[in-house]
Symmetry: C2
Subunit: 357 residues, 2 copies
C-alpha cells in the first residue's frame, strides 16, 4: 500500500509577520483560499486516501493540524517532541509504517510547497510507486528548472535506468549545492540538472535499511523504541530518545551518500514558497506588476507585493517592496531582501519582541 | 490691545492617514507631545493672554477646538460655515475685534506651523506690535531662509523703513511666486528674499480699510452683518453671507497689492510642516537617518520616516521611505513623493474609500 508522509515541521520564519512560531507557513493561506497543508493533503487525496496520510510536526503544532485536517486519522498525526530536521522524521514514519504494513511504500512530501499541475504530479506519484516496487530504489522527484535559480540545491541526473509509462527513471549522479548564477545558467542549459524538491518515494523497508547503514545511531534509536511505536507508549518512547538524536536532513544523511538513488523529472509548476518574494508566482499581478491580497491602493507604484487583510494599504511612488500588514506587526522589505525576513527574527528576539515571534 | 487670530481652517490632507477630514493637521501631535494648535496657543500665551486669542476654523472642527483649548473664551472660537480661504477669515476676525476694541491690533498666525526659537519669535511679535502702532502698516513676518527652498513663496524686501529695538522693519518690494531651484539659490545668496510665512500683524482698522479698497465685495459683506457680529445673531448672519464670498487668500487679495506693506525678518527655526517629509526636521534622527515615532525596528534601512503608534513597524533593506500606520489605513510613500499624499485623497474618493478621508 502507498502511504504519504507530510513533513510539517517548518517554523516558517520567512513569512513573518504572518507566520509566527505558533502559526508557521504550512498553516497560512499563502497559496490560495486554504492553508498550504490542507492543499497538500487535498492534492494527493485522490491517489493516497486520507486514512493513509501521515503528518509529522513539532509538538506545539499537532493540535492545530488535527483541527485543520479533521478527516485524517488522529493517530496518523504525530508530534516530534524536539525538532531534529528531516532524517529522524522520515525514520520515525518509516518505522511506524513498516510496523503497520511491512510492504508500505511511502511518498515523502513537504507541507508547504505548491504544485500548479496537479494531474501531472499525481501521474508522477503513480509512476514513482511503480518504480520503487521494482527494486530497493530511493526515488527523488527532481523539478525541471525554468530559470537559473541560485536558491535551490540541484540533482545531476545520469542515464535512464528504466521507464514507467512516459516517465523516465534516471540514475542520480550527484546532489549539488546551491550554485552561483553563472553555474546555475550552465545547469539550466545542460538539461541534466533538476531542482531538489525535497519530495521522495521509497519502500519503508528500503529507507530503513539505508538509515541503518548511513545513520546507524538513528537506526538504533528507532529500533530501541520499535515495540512502543503505534501504541499508547509511543509519545513517552519518543521523548526518551528524540532529544539526543542528531539533527540532520534526509538529503545530507542518506540521499547524497546512497548508491541506489533514482530520479523522476517532474514539470509540474512547483514552487517551494520560500519567501514573500515567491508569492509573485502565486498571486495575480496587475498591469504594473503589483501582486496583492486584502485592500490595497497604488499610486505610481510598481512590482510590489502587498498583503493587507486588516486595513487599507496605500503605496505612493515606490517599487520592488514587500509590505505585509498584520494586527500587531507591519513589515516593509525590499524585494531583494526577502531572505532577510528570517534574519529579522533574531533582531526581534534581541530587542525584546518575543511576543511577536 | 494686541489680539491673536489663529487660522485653523486647514484640511490637512497631506498628513493622511493620520490626518482626516475630521482631524486635520492642527489637531495632530506631529511637532511634539501636544497638538499643533495647542502648541501655537501656548507659544504666544505669555505675550497675548488666552482671553485675547481668537481661533477661526471650519464649522466641523469648532467643537474639537473647544475641547482641545478649554482655556480659550468659547466666544473667541469662531466657525466659518463655508471655507473661503484666508481673506474672509481675516476680514471676519478684523470686524469682530474692531467692534469689540476699536484699537485692536491683531497678530495673524497659522495653527499648524512650528517655531523652534520661541523667545526670538515673541520678541518679533512685540516689535511688530510696536511697528504697526506707528502707522497704517500691514506687517508681514518674513522667515530668513536657510536653504534654496522651492516650495514656498518669497518676499523681496527693500530698504529699512525704521527700526524697533534690534529689529529692522523693511519696506516690501514684492511678493514672488515659488521659484525654481536655480532662482531659489539666487534668492538665498542675495539676502533680500525671505520666506512668506503667512504670519502677519496690523491694526484691525487698517486691514479693514485695505479690504474695503482691494476686496470691496468682501468688505461690503462684512459691513452688512456688522451689527450681528459678537451677538447671538452672528452664526445666522455668517450663514447668510459666507457661501457667496469669493475664496481668496489674504496674500493674493491684499498683501501683494497693497503699498503699505512692511516686513520684519525673523530667524526663529520656523517650519510650516507641509508634508510628512518635513518631520525629518522635527523628530530626532538615529545615526542612519531614520526618524520615528512609535514602535519601529530597522534592518539595513536608512533615511526613513516611520510613524507607527499601534503596532511594531519593521523595515528591511529600504531607504527614503515614509511609512505611516494607523488603525484603519497604512501608507508607504517615497520621501520625494510626500506632496502626492494630497493627490491620494482624490484616488481614495474615486475608489470608494470616503470613510478613510
Amino acid at each position: 500500500m502507498i502511504y504519504a508522509l507530510i513533513m510539517a515541521g517548518g517554523s516558517g520564519t520567512r513569512f513573518w509577520p504572518e507566520s509566527r512560531k505558533s502559526r508557521p507557513k504550512q498553516f497560512l493561506n499563502i497559496a490560495g483560499p486554504k492553508s498550504m497543508i490542507r492543499l497538500t493533503v487535498e492534492r494527493i487525496a485522490t491517489e493516497i486516501p486520507v486514512g493513509r496520510i501521515m503528518v509529522i510536526s513539532g509538538a506545539s503544532h499537532a493540535d492545530e493540524i488535527r483541527n485543520e485536517l479533521p478527516e485524517l486519522n488522529p493517530e496518523m498525526i504525530v508530534a516530534e517532541p524536539w525538532s531534529r530536521n528531516t532524517a529522524p522524521c522520515v525514520a520515525l514514519a518509516a518505522y511506524k509504517l513498516r510496523k503497520a504494513d511491512p510492504d508500505a511504500v511511502m511518498a515523502v512530501l513537504p507541507a508547504d510547497h505548491t504544485i500548479g499541475k496537479e494531474e501531472a504530479f499525481l501521474d508522477a506519484l503513480r509512476h514513482g510507486a511503480d518504480a520503487v516496487s521494482r527494486g530497493d530504489y530511493l526515488l527523488t522527484f527532481g523539478v525541471v528548472p525554468n530559470r537559473p535559480e541560485t536558491g535551490y540545491g540541484y540533482i545531476r541526473i545520469g542515464k535512464v535506468a528504466f521507464s514507467v509509462g512516459p516517465d523516465k527513471v534516471h540514475k542520480v549522479d550527484a546532489f549539488v549545492e546551491k550554485p552561483d548564477l553563472e553555474t546555475a545558467r550552465l545547469y539550466l542549459a545542460s538539461g541534466n540538472y533538476l531542482w531538489n524538491s525535497g519530495m521522495f518515494m521509497w519502500k519503508a523497508s528500503d529507507i530503513i535499511r539505508a538509515i541503518d547503514r548511513r545513520l546507524p545511531r538513528l537506526g538504533a534509536a528507532m529500533k530501541s523504541i520499535a515495540s512502543a511505536l503505534n501504541t499508547i507508549e509511543e509519545a513517552d518512547a519518543l521523548r526518551g530518545v528524540y532529544q539526543s538524536l542528531e539533527s540532520i536532513s534526509i538529503d545530507y544523511g542518506i540521499m547524497e551518500r546512497a548508491d541506489n538513488v533514482v530520479c523522476i523529472p517532474i514539470d509540474v509548476d512547483w514552487n517551494d514558497v520560500g519567501s514573500w518574494a515567491a508569492v509573485v508566482e502565486l498571486w495575480p499581478a496587475d498591469k504594473t506588476g503589483n501582486v496583492t491580497r486584502g485592500q490595497t491602493l497604488f499610486l505610481d507604484s510598481r512590482n510590489c507585493v502587498v498583503s493587507s487583510n486588516h486595513r487599507l494599504a496605500t503605496l505612493i511612488g515606490v517599487e520592488d517592496l514587500i509590505v505585509v500588514d498584520t494586527p500587531d506587526a507591519l513589515m516593509v522589505c525590499h524585494k531583494d531582501r526577502a531572505q532577510d525576513v528570517k534574519r529579522l527574527q533574531e533582531v526581534l528576539a534581541e530587542q525584546g519582541y518575543e511576543d511577536l515571534l
